[in-house]
């Protein structure tokens, strides 16, 4: 039990495994749909992911250079924070924009592939890393330790939605790049985040809304805008 709780506090291994499975299944789906640009696009996505990983691991070098010079072994044992991950995401976006600078279609291709990848990741990661939400009296509530108090199993709700959405995605035969997958992902994902935000335990509000709620509304808006696919978005 202690080991499981330790894993929950530090689920890096599950994160890496879920990412690996996501790339595999994303690649598989693209292959079954005979997507021509598959290798190049998967490689761009993986490189972008690598940017985030490198910034997370080595980003602190930029702000703590003297500390790392004094004890180079720190590089092995330390890693960055959300700040460094954010820096990595900015670098990844710049790289993606540079890689796809010649066509709008490429963004939709990437969006469709990422929609599949992120859904797979959400399913595996959230299934294996439970997270308690608000207290509930529902029979499916999760308990922690020996306590009788039951909580909404927030991550399992996400995993169920992701699983149902994955069935929908894997049955769909639309071509990659049509914007079909990414638009549905934005609508379902945004809706799920918004719904789940009401079950979260602790939330900081900015102008009455939590950060996750702003993201969800933005996602829903994007989903609505590209719902009809690339032709209309142009």
């Amino acid at each position: 039990m202690g080991f499981i709780n330790n894993l929950i506090n530090n689920p890096r291994f599950i994160l890496v495994a879920a990412l690996f499975i996501s790339v595999l299944l994303m690649n598989h789906k693209a292959k079954t749909l005979n997507y021509q640009n598959r290798e190049r696009m998967v490689s761009v996505i993986m490189n972008a992911g690598l940017f985030v990983l490198l910034f997370w691991k080595f980003g602190p070098l930029l702000t703590n250079l003297s500390w790392y010079l004094e004890s180079p072994a720190s590089l092995l044992w330390s890693s960055g924070s959300l700040k460094h991950v954010s820096m990595g995401i900015v670098a990844a976006v710049i790289y993606i924009v540079y890689s796809n600078r010649k066509s709008l279609v490429a963004y939709f291709e990437m969006g469709d592939l990422l929609a599949i990848g992120v859904s797979v990741f959400t399913f595996f990661y959230y299934l294996l890393v439970p997270q308690p939400g608000r207290i509930t009296t529902m029979p499916w509530g999760m308990t922690l330790e020996e306590s009788q108090i039951m909580y909404h199993p927030l991550h399992w709700y996400y995993a169920i939605i992701a699983f149902l959405f994955l069935i929908f995605l894997y049955r769909a035969k639309n071509i990659i790049g049509s914007g079909y997958y990414v638009s549905r992902f934005c609508l379902v994902g945004g809706g799920a985040i918004l719904l789940m935000s009401f079950f979260e335990r602790t939330t900081n509000f900015y102008a009455g809304l939590a950060t996750s709620q702003y993201i969800s509304i933005l996602l829903i808006g994007c989903g609505m805008y590209v719902y009809d696919g690339i032709a209309k978005a142009k």
Partner: protein
């Protein structure tokens, strides 16, 4: 253009709808002066009482003897509404040696605003080696001896260094497993103090 307008209007409607639901949830969970919820049977009050070594829960209480012979209780700091950093370490742990000077510096900087408890895993270490370590890095904050490993078990400190950041209300706001770079460490302490 018409579609863009529809999207914007939908987003604005969603914004206000979400804001209203949030307010409704907040009103239902608002604690009274006695610490109970405004509505009888509301579980929010119970939620605040549960002690678990997880983010968002109350930090498990403990009482340990310090290296200086005094007895230290986590609840003492909570009564004083002071944030507490609880760091688990051992003298044989190489990353703990990297982290120790940082703890010394950060304590000197924030000792008025937060308390640091360095919990030595004495069951798998020795008091003599703990003394040497503390002397070497000039720890000025309380060093607690977890001789029975009870606090280690309570906090799941199975890999060290592990650091818990507990705010003034006694709620765990962050957990760090492994060494943190100085700026990340300081950011977390500032969050712990300000939250």
């Amino acid at each position: 253009m018409k579609k863009f307008g529809t999207v914007i209007i939908s987003m604005v409607v969603l914004f206000f709808l979400t804001q209203t639901i949030n307010q409704q949830i907040k009103d239902n969970n608002l604690p009274t002066e006695t610490g109970n919820s405004t509505k009888s049977g509301n579980p929010a009050a119970k939620e605040e009482k549960q002690e678990l070594p997880r983010i968002g829960f109350l930090a498990p209480s403990f009482e340990l003897k310090g290296l200086d012979g005094k007895s230290y209780r986590l609840s003492d700091q909570q009564k004083a509404s002071k944030p507490v950093l609880v760091n688990f370490w051992a003298s044989w742990c190489e990353p703990c040696h990297l982290e120790a000077p940082m703890l010394t510096d950060l304590y000197a900087k924030y000792k008025d605003k937060a308390e640091f408890y360095a919990v030595n895993l004495t069951k798998s270490d020795s008091v003599d080696l703990a003394y040497e370590f503390v002397d070497q890095y000039k720890f000025e904050f309380p060093v607690l001896l977890d001789e029975s490993a009870s606090v280690k078990k309570k906090y799941y400190a199975y890999s060290i260094p592990t650091t818990y950041f507990i705010n003034k209300d006694g709620v765990i706001i962050d957990v760090a497993i492994g060494v943190l770079p100085p700026d990340v460490f300081e950011d977390k302490i500032l969050r712990m103090i300000n939250e």
